[in-house]
């Protein structure tokens, strides 16, 4: 799966959330999208997910334009919102059953049980989602996308709700996805954590793409580009 973003722009009324965004994503890439609040990270993810239509420009998946009505392409895109996208009054198992059926991937109970075991939610399988903590909901979302196996997985600020073992679980899952040739895109403010596992970084500022490089060590260009968003005298590594 290749993603090509060309001249992407999004305006909310008179405010441009994104302007002239161009980049390409190749199979197996783990991309960190960074930038200050209001930079356009979530808007970019939502456009890549097909949830928001751009004002201008295009997003192409293997050459096919992502637009309204392209439902077949949607099986290839996953969006992991840490504690969202789950029905609160369905049980953990019912949620997984519902969403796998929605993606025409009706999994048997063994596959669902195995996914729940991976995220340590086996003993919560019959519980309503409303009774789960945010961290547990995030684990359930991981199980959901583990079952659905999309070619592109987008994540918006996934670290905030997870404890230490949850972070390990998430990072192991994401690295596994990349190892299998899938694309992972993470928008986050946890710069040091996300850069530890990503292979490339994009920086957005006021809706414009100001930095796009493959990770290297040392990385003076990134230090300089991201430094302006940090409190005076601080490093993103700290």
């Amino acid at each position: 799966m290749h993603i090509t973003v060309e001249k992407l722009a999004k305006a909310y009324g008179l405010l441009w959330a994104l302007r002239e965004i161009n980049f390409e994503l190749k199979p197996g890439e783990f991309v960190a999208i960074l930038g200050p609040n209001g930079a356009g990270k979530t808007t970019l993810l939502r456009i890549l997910a097909g949830l928001v239509l751009p004002t201008g420009g295009s997003v192409r998946l293997d050459g096919a334009m992502l637009s309204r009505g392209t439902t077949a392409l949607r099986t290839k895109i996953g969006f992991l919102a840490p504690a969202d996208h789950l029905y609160e009054n369905l049980t953990v198992k019912e949620n997984l059953h519902f969403f796998t059926s929605l993606y025409h991937q009706k999994k048997n109970f063994d596959a669902i049980n195995q996914a729940l075991k991976t995220v340590n939610l086996t003993d919560r399988a019959g519980e309503y989602v409303v009774n789960l903590s945010s961290g547990m909901k995030c684990r359930l979302s991981i199980a959901k996308w583990q079952l659905l196996q999309p070619d592109v997985l987008l994540l918006d600020e996934p670290y905030g709700v997870l404890d230490g073992s949850g972070v390990d679980l998430l990072e192991g899952f994401l690295q596994g996805q990349c190892a299998e040739g899938r694309i992972v895109v993470v928008a986050s403010h946890h710069v040091s954590r996300v850069l530890k596992i990503s292979s490339r970084a994009l920086i957005l500022n006021q809706g414009r793409l100001t930095f796009d490089e493959v990770k290297r060590e040392p990385w003076p260009n990134f230090d300089k580009a991201y430094g302006e968003f940090l409190p005076h005298g601080e490093s993103w590594r700290s």
């Binding site: 097909g50 439902t71 969202d84 996208h85 609160e88 009054n89 369905l90 929605l102």
Partner: protein, 225 residues
């Protein structure tokens, strides 16, 4: 077939959630019966006059009750941004429209099954033998209400004052359905058969078919705009 399978899946989910929460059905049921009691204490006409007023009074109750249900129609999808989760999936948007319309229809029919006989008891009407025909007309009108209600509910979904906006958009569009249903019911109550009301019945069926088809075709645009 995929459309029907997805519709069934979404309907199963909505019915299961309603079975567990029961907010929409209970609210609609109590509001519907409450309105009947208000009508009962407000008017005390002779039975023959009640028969003439019954269709309008019943539809007044159904409209207000149904609007309560429509306001809650996408409640589960608003929680936890579940609508995004549905739109993210390869789901045919027409299936979402059909499932929501069917779900609202189930709730309305359950309320009507209680409200119509209760109306007959409260106003001491004797024409019980006409109830099957009246239920048929009510069902056709309810289908129109649910289909149009689902479209308008989706249009107003992201509006700030959606509860206020919904009836303002829906009620004017519902005029043909209300008019046709009331005329049909009046005729059945007066003559015991459809007779002169057949053109109204055709209008009702036509309205249902047209808006059901239009809904399936345009719901993609409506829900994603």
């Amino acid at each position: 077939m995929a459309l029907l399978r997805e519709t069934y899946l979404l309907l199963w989910k909505d019915l299961l959630l309603e079975l567990r929460r029961r907010d929409s059905l209970l609210t609609m049921f109590f509001f519907g019966t409450l309105l009947l009691f208000v009508f009962h204490f407000s008017f005390d006409p002779a039975p023959e006059k009640v028969a003439a007023m019954a269709p309008a009074l019943l539809w007044l109750a159904f409209l207000f009750t149904g609007t309560l249900g429509l306001a809650q129609l996408f409640h589960a999808e608003r929680e936890n941004h579940c609508l995004d989760a549905l739109l993210l999936s390869p789901l045919d948007r027409g299936a979402l429209f059909l499932a929501k319309s069917c779900f609202n229809l189930v709730l309305m029919v359950l309320v009507e099954i209680v409200v119509i006989p209760l109306f007959w008891i409260l106003f001491n009407l004797r024409s019980w033998n006409l109830l099957p025909q009246l239920f048929l007309v009510t069902l056709l009108g309810t289908v129109g209400f649910c289909v149009l209600g689902t479209i308008t509910s989706a249009i107003t979904l992201r509006a700030r004052a959606r509860e206020l906006l919904l009836p303002l958009v829906l009620f004017p569009l519902m005029i043909p359905v209300i008019l046709a249903t009331i005329r049909c019911m009046e005729n059945v109550l007066r003559t015991g058969e459809f007779g002169d009301a057949i053109p109204w019945l055709r209008l009702l069926i036509g309205f249902d078919v047209i808006f059901l088809t239009v809904g399936v075709l345009i719901f993609d645009w409506v829900i994603e705009s």
